[in-house]
Subunit: 364 residues, 4 copies
């Protein structure tokens, strides 16, 4: 059941790096939403390989096709199927990895769990599986926008030790998309790009941190006690390939404050709305949104597949050396930005529908 | 549906701080497991209030009763119900909080979501709800122990800026329990205790980091792509009250390494088992356990409820000042240790059963 | 996971015939619903043993206690826990059944599945487990009543070969409750009662058919393609002890008509509402309610536990003879009526919330 | 969420009669199962339109493509995607039904629920959606066969008032497939075929009953209390288009027996296995399989879409007359046989994995 995510707005994905293609089925989408393949393609283009000199050179247009669930430009309320065929596959690049396990990759654990794996390009563990998430996320974003003008903006906050300065309250998609590393601090972005290119030339890789903000989120989303919004957000982004850490609001740094320093004091704004003077809660208190911006951060490790030589073992039980071939991102961060946004959108959309179901049936 | 957790090994909890009591129903527990109320009580005693001078003085023995699902000392395979009545309630302590929202607590968001809340002692948002998790976790731990000798040990890694030195590969429950703050670095523990007492006297609170290790975990647990083990672990611990961040293995610090520095190289040990020379993956690769120890960290913010005066608003729309009464932990960390362990055990046990179901039906 | 039912409005039950008691946790209940223990007790009293001379003489008041989720008479939106202790237990009556499997009962299959069973009074397979369903159903009924004035009325349609004449469009709860067999055809009811008493004296048992109608159900409930409303209703009632068959609308008899005879033609009523001239569909078309009354029937077999001698085997592998002791219903039908109503209410309430979530988020 | 079915072995379907195609995603399939497109195609061919003179003449080869989850002829353990494109679509045939609701079809209720529908060929309510079920069912059947030599055989038991004589204990697939109506009583089958042809010429339709047997089912499948096996079977088959009733074992007729007549007495067979002398339980007692054959029946109503004139209304609120065009089955029964088998297989396979997970983790 691990290939489904969400409850009322629920997605199920499939597909491997080098099979027929990858796709997603979306169940529970509200009916009569206007949606086009172009709107979905916009997000897929932000995720696709080969989009810039600092991503993998694999040439995929990732052109999506809506197979069901949309009629005359509108959602039907029944299950939506979106498919993206694989085009530029090179299984031969992976023949060495058919027997040699890549360190810190999923090769060995897939074999341990299933006793079989599609070794071509990582199979199901390839970041290519995130296409379905990003496609479904495009629809979730549109619903959130339409219902409450919700804005979800992700960006690269840090690459290795280079950290950008970004104001989550004002940052726009256009600013994020203004450079290929997706760090809207343009001066820092330039240094990030240079570092990634350097690392790539060395046959190595680096990681970093993506930050994501969701603004205008309605109050009341999230469910005690296990489906607290931050718990579902954590699960969503920690299921992305290469993620190693998650923070909401003040995160780990917040543990260095006392309660009196950390608490977000309440006040009433001009309209009489309850607001907080600070936002260390990151928009969520007691697992439920409070109307302030949701702010979260995700740590992504350096890409596991590198050209540099590493010691490893084979599936047949011999120690060996691997210098991985294939086409890989030297740094996943630029392409991880739309993935993080998608997961945030999926979580929020699911909870939006759930909240409507539970709390607006008796009092519409 | 937010009050259930897990799929095959599934728990559902209920109860408020000041209602009749709190409890848990466990569905899907393997039959014929020997279990006693005493074994569950052992874990509840580690969680209960009033256990030391640095926790809340609320006097609860948290004595559990097994209402169903166990017969002649063994599980029946049908649903297990465990109940703990509330004894030492003082609703009058909360009369001021019936109208004044505690900053960074759940008062305001519960009202926003539900239009109603049990203001006595935090209601459902009270950490008292974790009793059900810890009780069910005791059973999950026993299953894991019996099947694979799995050891789950949590401890306080840091209080505010005081960080202990602990070796996750050797640390034992006895060492953790050797002091009241549950940091097995005894010298550091002493300073932590002093700091917590100081903070309490000031009417303030502090936070910190719990680290947890799971040893001897079988290879193969976790499911691509959404139910990666780290994703479910993240959801589990981020659903605990006051948690603000999660890390697996190298976590955020791992983003400062290159791929060649970060990757865990493989080797074959004496028995021919595939092992890694380092463990920056934290025991999980591609979402699936690799047999190395699972190591994770959780950030807990300083307790929201403090005696110090804070600006806030009332539920009737007026700005005001609150100096919270009631009995609260100046620092949740010591009592959070068994909670983190319980969530880790619940996630592992659920995935153990799921793995057995999917991967050992054709090849038992 | 078999002890939970529903998705948004979800119940989890526990408890055996002879353990500490039985209960239910309700997750996802809308907040601010006024509900009292008395309203729940009303339904439990219709289900309880010992209510008349034609039911089991076990003396249980089945008095319920609300342990959580309700505050000052209103639901909180968080999980509701309702508990009913077992009082009048006689484990000694079952000592023979500890080794001898009752034919057509669950003794042998529980042993085969779990390798263990609580042989006292049937354990978890006892109809006593339906207390949780009926308690939760009382809340579901109230929500449905409040939102759309939905009326759910079940009644005994047939006992053995005695079939009553009942008009589902006008039948009332009062008429159903006017006699102890719950068949509102009073003349037929009298003969049913006599037959049950006769059968009881013979140490035998009989079965029959419960019919249930739900009126004023809003259009639009039910989800293609697996969660069609009739599919979820079928699952709900077929999970009741002793049920052997399910029909919706024309049911099996409808297969003897041609399409032109069977189809429900549409017309517009005075208010311009789309209605059907007949109702062979039983209120559901394409898995979705059409606004007409839902009408369904459930077959209940004769009670498995009888005093008459039967050939059977022991758990230790010997053929033997059993004449069952214990206190049992000679006919489950009168007490099955509130159980069927409860399952119908639970299904409708869950789908009401789901429909609200999916179809009223974009267009409230 | 209504487009998914099952828990551990879980399918999600999508597609409309006249969109790009229909398909299924299977999550949780055991790894290393040998499966080919041809094996799946075998079952799809039994379901496809145009297979004989008594089915709809729509020309679809229903050729399936495995898009993911299978590698070198074996399942990977990750999600399997199977797709069947729509080829022979004639939307123009349905232009009248774009405004006129077909009596007893899903047109009006889809509009009521979603405010939109794909009126071409019934959209999602078309029986074409069952392709995904049958494809997934082929895999489920293979697993059941491999693990326990389970045989699932469905057949037409009755068409209108013509009932065949069939022995469920010996009937084979070959016998069922020996004629186009799939009733293995060949003399009766001939009369059924004649009747269907007559009805078709009259522009009318008829229904009937499918019976299905599952032999060699292991003991222990099914979960108290809501996921009793008969409850999940009922849900599975009652979610099929046109189904109106369900029976397990003795069904409705069993209500005419007394307990002493109805109970299945136990005995020990030559191998010492606990068996029953009769099988009125239909292979399930207390919701759990007892090792005897599972026998169930499903009532299918006459096809709703008929050429004969019927009174109806338009979506714009006018009363009118409809004589439906399009290509439809005069009787769904022959093609319903593989659908019923598929649902039975899916339920059994899911419960097989669940049982393995819960009951064979501690005691493999």
């Amino acid at each position: 059941m691990g290939n489904s995510f969400g409850h009322l707005f629920r997605i199920t994905t499939y597909g491997e790096s080098h099979g027929g293609g990858v796709g997603v089925v979306i169940d529970g989408c509200p009916p009569q939403l206007e949606i086009s393949a172009a709107e979905i393609q916009f997000e897929l283009d932000r995720r696709r390989p080969g989009q810039s000199k600092i991503t993998t050179p694999r040439k995929e247009t990732d052109t999506c096709e809506i197979l069901s669930g949309v009629f005359e430009g509108k959602t039907l309320g029944t299950s939506i199927s979106i498919f993206v065929p694989n085009k530029d596959t090179r299984p031969q690049d992976y023949s060495e990895m058919a027997v040699k396990y890549r360190p810190s990759h999923a090769d060995a654990t897939y074999d341990a769990k299933y006793g079989i794996r599609n070794w071509q390009g990582g199979g199901r563990s390839s970041a290519r599986e995130t296409i379905g998430r990003v496609a479904a996320g495009a629809i979730a974003k549109k619903i959130l926008k339409q219902v409450a003008n919700v804005d979800i903006v992700g960006y690269v906050k840090r690459i290795h030790d280079l950290e950008g300065i970004v104001d989550p309250h004002t940052i726009t998609l256009e600013q994020v998309e203004s450079n290929i590393v997706r760090c809207p601090d343009s001066e820092c972005a330039q240094r990030m790009i240079e570092k990634i290119e350097l690392i790539r030339r060395e046959g190595d890789s680096i990681g970093g941190v993506v930050e994501c903000v969701a603004r205008n989120v309605p109050k009341g989303l999230g469910e005690p006690v296990f489906d607290k919004l931050e718990a579902d957000l954590a699960k969503g982004v920690m299921s992305l390939p290469a993620s190693k850490g998650f923070e909401i609001g003040s995160g780990f740094a917040g543990t260095l404050l006392t309660g009196s320093e950390h608490n977000d004091e309440f006040y009433l704004d001009d309209t009489g709305t309850v607001r907080t003077t600070t936002n260390r809660s990151g928009g969520i208190q007691g697992g439920i949104t409070n109307g302030e911006s949701i702010i979260l951060r995700v740590a992504f490790k350096p890409t596991a597949t590198i050209r540099k030589e590493q010691r490893t073992v084979t599936s047949t039980g011999e120690e060996t050396i691997l210098a991985a071939k294939g086409r890989h991102d030297p740094c996943v961060l630029p392409r991880a930005v739309p993935m993080v946004e998608a997961m945030v959108a999926l979580v929020l959309c699911d909870h939006l529908l759930r909240h409507q179901g539970q709390c607006h049936t008796l009092k519409p």
